[in-house]
């Protein structure tokens, strides 16, 4: 592992070429743009598209664009996740499939397949409504991806992080549920200063969350798990005064909360320790996602 700051390397790599004079728009592209706009009727500020006096070339161009759009829509339709319970797992996205020439392919997991701990960058594509068993996570379990997920575009994947102490179930680009077993967490979810072990009991998790000034914590009704037992459920809302840096808080925890965010936290007793399930949901319909996440967590069966 490199001893250098990975974030600095990433910034350097991404910013390379910003001032490079060799990165130029070629003249032939500029010329093509000029030719295109000369043949292209413009949208007016108030009226509809106007086709009636377009040139034949422009009409052909529009027809080609329409054909591409229709074909694209059909392809997108083909790549939507399956919607029924037990359905075949979805195909990888076009981008994923197309990138297979240079990247290791994602593992396409059929229902019931083992979701193994994925060595980066392998991912396990999973389907809405299907049940999976994980043997890669430190606490082997089974879960069912809620059928509601089929209403969300994109593919879903599961993978392990943090030396397999975290199983991340990724709904699309912006929503994730993480199941965490044996992680260090920040001592204070609003004002983190150091790391502590995950509180050993759900009650202690509640105390840990409630102790954070600046975080509003609401206790929800316990959630029964398919495999027996219950999850204590907390909704955590962070004020704008909470930790807001995009860099890791002290101690580099794998998990932390940020100012203005809202998370649902589930605490599940597993022997002498607690498994924490946490949500990340900046975009989606919160109520619907809470329901769907309750279904996912409620489906948990630990081996």
């Amino acid at each position: 592992m490199t001893s250098r700051d990975p974030d600095a390397l990433i910034r350097t790599w991404l910013s390379e070429g910003a001032e490079d004079p060799s990165v130029q728009l070629p003249d032939r592209v500029s010329d093509a743009i000029a030719a295109d706009i000369h043949l292209t009727r413009r949208r007016t500020g108030f009226g509809p598209w106007r086709f009636f006096d377009m040139s034949r070339i422009a009409i052909a161009s529009v027809a080609a664009v329409v054909a591409v759009v229709v074909a694209g829509a059909a392809l997108i339709g083909l790549n939507r996740p399956a919607t029924s319970v037990g359905a075949t797992a979805p195909a990888p996205s076009l981008a994923a499939a197309a990138s297979a020439a240079t990247m290791p392919p994602a593992i396409l997991s059929a229902p019931g397949d083992l979701v193994v701990g994925s060595p980066f960058p392998l991912e396990n594509v999973i389907a809405a409504g299907s049940t999976y068993h994980s043997v890669g996570f430190t606490s082997p379990l089974a879960f069912t991806m809620p059928a509601y997920a089929s209403s969300i575009s994109g593919t879903f994947d599961a993978k392990t992080w943090a030396d397999r102490h975290t199983l991340q179930i990724h709904w699309n680009n912006d929503y994730a549920v993480t199941i965490n077993d044996g992680l260090k967490v920040s001592n204070n979810v609003c004002h983190p200063t150091t790391l502590i072990d995950t509180p050993a009991t759900p009650a202690a998790v509640g105390s840990w969350l409630h102790a954070a000034t600046g975080a509003t914590v609401t206790d929800r009704a316990d959630l029964a798990l398919a495999g027996g037992g219950v999850a204590r459920v907390f909704d955590v809302s962070l004020s704008d005064a909470c930790y807001s840096s995009t860099d890791s808080p002290p101690g580099n925890p794998q998990i932390w909360f940020g100012a203005g965010e809202q998370h649902r936290v589930y605490a599940i007793q597993r022997g002498d320790r607690t498994v924490l399930v946490m949500t990340w949901s900046p975009l989606q319909d919160a109520a619907a996602m809470d329901t769907a996440t309750n279904q996912l967590v409620g489906s948990l069966q630990f081996n």
């Binding site: 592992m1 250098r4 990975p6 974030d7 600095a8 390397l9 990433i10 350097t12 790599w13 991404l14 390379e16 070429g17 910003a18 490079d20 060799s22 990165v23 728009l25 070629p26 592209v29 500029s30 093509a32 743009i33 000029a34 295109d36 706009i37 413009r42 949208r43 007016t44 500020g45 694209g72 996205s93 076009l94 981008a95 197309a98 990138s99 020439a101 240079t102 990247m103 060595p119 960058p121 992080w161 943090a162 680009n173 994730a176 993480t178 965490n180 995009t246 890791s248 794998q254 998990i255 932390w256 909360f257 940020g258 203005g260 965010e261 998370h263 946490m278 949500t279 990340w280 975009l283």
Partner: protein
Amino acid sequence: MLLALVERAKQGDEEAFAAVVRVVGDRCMFIALRILRDVDRAEDAVQAAFVSAWIELPTLRDLERFEAWLHRILVNACYAEARRGRRWAANVVLLETDTPAARDEYLTVHDRDQLDRGFRRLPPEQRAVLVFHHALGLTLLEVADHLGIPVGTAKSRLFYATAALRAALEADDRTPIPKERLA
């Protein structure tokens, strides 16, 4: 100068629009190339974006926001281009080959290879946030504005994308333990 050109282009002046392309085209090419990592695809995306911008320009009310507006169109063109199946793995042009030597003390060839691999695995939406934030130096608020997404989404995408690139860098010794923010 740009504002005056945009105003004239809005009124239908094709030469003014061509001048706008000359002024901001290189920047757009850099953004598209950074997101798509492929010269041909980047050129296609930029061309499509400028044609769309020409069509939509009469509807732009605040000319001061032209560049942010154009960037949003450009990024959408990049998304569309990225999802097309053709030429995905071919004609890869790495900006690193033109990198000033001074940078080499920080980034090894292996680093670049790992980062490039990690970057190519990212969805285009996450790539765009990385490029606008790190390569263009925009704040997350500005990134959200340029991409037309909520700030929380920009932040989320930045977290996931950065974590994936960290993991890519750290994959060289087969210890895939990313320092990721997971929730």
